[in-house]
C-alpha cells in the first residue's frame, strides 16, 4: 500500500503542487501517520502531555475556525 501511495504522489506531483498544500507538508503527514501506527506500547504520562500540547497547537490554527458562524 505504501508503494501505491508513493506511485500516486509521483504521478500527480505537478498538479498537486499547483495551488494546494505543499507536497513536502503532505509527505510529512504521510510519514507521521506511518510512525504513529507503529506504536506498540501505551503512552507514558509524559507522552500524554505531549499529545495534549500537540492537540492544542493544531486546533488553534486559523483553518480550524469557522467562518460560517454568525458575527464572524
Amino acid at each position: 500500500m505504501g508503494n501505491a501511495l508513493v506511485a500516486l504522489l509521483v504521478k500527480y506531483l505537478p498538479s498537486l503542487v499547483q495551488g494546494a498544500k505543499s507536497v513536502p507538508d503532505i509527505l510529512e503527514y504521510l510519514q507521521k501517520t506511518r510512525e504513529h501506527l507503529k506504536q506498540t506500547k501505551e503512552w507514558t504520562p509524559e507522552e500524554e502531555a505531549v499529545f495534549d500540547a500537540y492537540l492544542e497547537e493544531k486546533t488553534s490554527q486559523e483553518h480550524w475556525k469557522s467562518r460560517d458562524q454568525k458575527g464572524e
Partner: protein, 147 residues
Amino acid sequence: MKKVTISFLLLCSVLLTGCETASVAYKATTTGYNLSSSGETGVVNDDAIVVNTEKILYVATDTFDLFLELERDNEASLKQISPQIHVYAEKVRAKGKQWIISARTAKDAYKYNRTAKNHANLVTAYKTLNSAIEESKKYIDSAKQNQ
C-alpha cells in the same frame, strides 16, 4: 481551478487511505477486543484498544488538521463540486476537537480503571472518532463522482 480541485480530491483520497490503516489494524487485532479475564467481576483487560486509541488520536488530529487546511485553501472551488464538502468541514471544525478529547478521556478512564463500563465507553468513543475519519473520506469520494 479544476486542476487544483482534482488535485485536492486525489490528495485527500491518498491521505485518508492511510487513516484506514488505523481502523483496519484495530479490527484485525481486536476481534472480541483481545479480552482476557483477571477473574475479577467487571474487569476487562484489553490492552490493544488503549494502544489503538492512542494511535488514532494522533491520526485523527493530523487528518482533520490537513483536511481543514486544504478545504480552507480550496473552499470556493470545492463548493462548486459539492457543497457537502464544506458542510462536513464545518462539522469537523465544530466537533472535531471534542471527538478527539472524548476519545482521549474515555481512553484514560479505561486505561487507569479497567471496568466493563469504561471499556464499553472507550469502544464507543473509538468508533465515533474512527467514523469521523471514514466519513471524511466518503465525502471526498462522493465529490469525485460528481465531477
